[in-house]
Point group: C2
Chain length 294, copies 2
């Protein structure tokens, strides 16, 4: 079987999946996205879930990445250790057959650290392969769990996860701040004020309560609370990421609405960042993996 | 009306209320607790809610503290500013009549700060009045929202709220850590390890993700995750509290299960703390307020 004759790549996450048909010249000719994430697949249901993808995109070999390779997915593809590049990912490929291959996640467990990623590594290495991220860089990959990744010689050298997106969602949905955080987050003065606090304060769980106290005491408007709180969390996140001792170029990779907020927070810390749309890097990553499998 | 002839004091919080009948010699002769917190009282329902208390404890004047004086309560009793002692609380009493009097909360809004408390001030000033807390002290009052309070000359000089209890509850109920945090928190090695990280790290939203990664990578047991995460949050909280530049004696006031955890974390930071049961201090506080109203 030659993978370079064309294949289907799937970015299969916890709640969504996105499938791409890649032809023999490495172009994506067809794609679809649906809500059939890993958690929605019943026990023993992956064969049917995969057959459905082939019905839509053709009877091609499948390259699967993301939570589909976790202990809650189809077949577990154990984490490969840092430093990890395309070659290490290929050496860790798993799967039920040689026509359904699953990309492993990456772990950083050196020097007492403990961190994991699964899915982001394909986007990231794809961005390097396609020249959108330097082979020596600091990459910020915001989302539910932001990843700060030190890239060296084109490989993932070390990384750290910050729970920023999930914390904001929890506070918005379930906390004493809920009635203040319903508004839109805007890249304006309130966001920048929050960023300033997050960059300089080491006391996040105290600063979070001040979001409420500031409004109660008339020191800030209710309308700006969501933007301030988002700035506070993202500023804290950027302070943590920039503690990596590297002066490498920073790239923020992800959804454009998030990369613009992170980029502004990084600028407030007197560094500059370029922004890259993460989804398109996934394709570059799977093509590189398919080539290396020959 | 002489308040020293006896009165009813109510610690009326968001979800619960606790009422005490105090006789002419300042002794509590009867008390009850129920789930009729401020949020359960319908609009216009406070007269009925108060009548019910008098039916059970007698037709006495009422001294009410806690969220009943907030903008979600019966009658708003605006926050009095720091420094605040019994005298300042009495000067800020509000209420619908002179037989139903509501104790104000306290705000700390000096030098750009923004913080509020409502309910803890009565316990705290009661503890000072009854000699359980020094007139110059650093008081830690754990709960949903922990308060670190600098007490000087018997008054609340400054304070800071840390959302430790609420963050732990949110993470346990709704986050990616939920399936790890269901166990009991125990004052053992895993708790102490978390405290150590919280005291030394400034990166809480990253350390929280490591709770999961440590288990996935086999570096920590699933059974110990709740204790480790609690230690991480409480260690962070203690680091924040001890950043107050004071060498005063530390008292931890609250529920004994919480004060023992905080006391251990404070010991890990090479300070010592005495523990006080907060609920009993409330009575000392309301008696002092009633005396000052004469």
């Amino acid at each position: 079987m030659r993978w370079t004759d064309g294949f289907i790549a799937v970015d299969w996450g916890t709640t969504n999946r996105r499938a791409y048909l890649v032809d023999g010249s490495s172009k994506c000719t067809q794609e679809f996205e649906d809500a059939k994430g890993v958690l929605s697949v019943p026990s023993g249901g992956f064969l049917a879930a995969v057959a459905e993808i082939r019905e839509r995109l053709g009877d091609k070999p499948l390259l699967l990445a993301g939570m589909v390779g976790s202990n809650r997915g189809w077949v577990e593809a154990p984490y490969v250790a840092c430093p990890a590049g395309i070659e290490e990912l290929v050496s860790g490929l798993a799967g039920p057959s040689d026509r359904e291959v699953i990309v492993p996640g990456v772990k950083d467990d050196a020097n007492g650290r403990a961190d994991v990623m699964r899915g982001e590594e394909v986007q990231l290495l794809g961005a390097i392969a396609s020249g959108q991220v330097d082979p020596d860089a600091l990459v910020c990959h915001p989302g539910t769990h932001n990843k700060w990744v030190v890239v060296r010689n084109g490989r993932i050298e070390s990384f750290r996860t910050v729970m920023t997106g999930e914390l904001f969602s929890l506070l918005k949905a379930h906390s004493i701040l809920s009635d203040l955080l319903g508004g839109e987050v805007e890249l304006g003065d309130a966001f920048r004020e929050g960023v300033g606090v997050g960059l300089s304060s080491q006391d996040l769980p105290a600063e979070l309560f001040s979001v409420r106290a500031r409004v109660l005491l008339g020191k800030a408007s209710r309308e700006n609370a969501a933007s301030f709180a988002s700035g506070l969390l993202i500023g804290t996140d950027v302070r943590i990421g920039l503690s990596y001792p590297t002066s490498a170029q920073i790239t923020v990779m992800g959804r454009p609405d998030l990369t613009s907020l992170y980029s502004a927070a990084i600028a407030a810390a007197n560094r500059t960042a370029t922004e890259v749309d993460g989804e398109r890097c996934f394709l570059a990553g799977v093509v590189k993996i398919a080539e290396a499998m020959q």
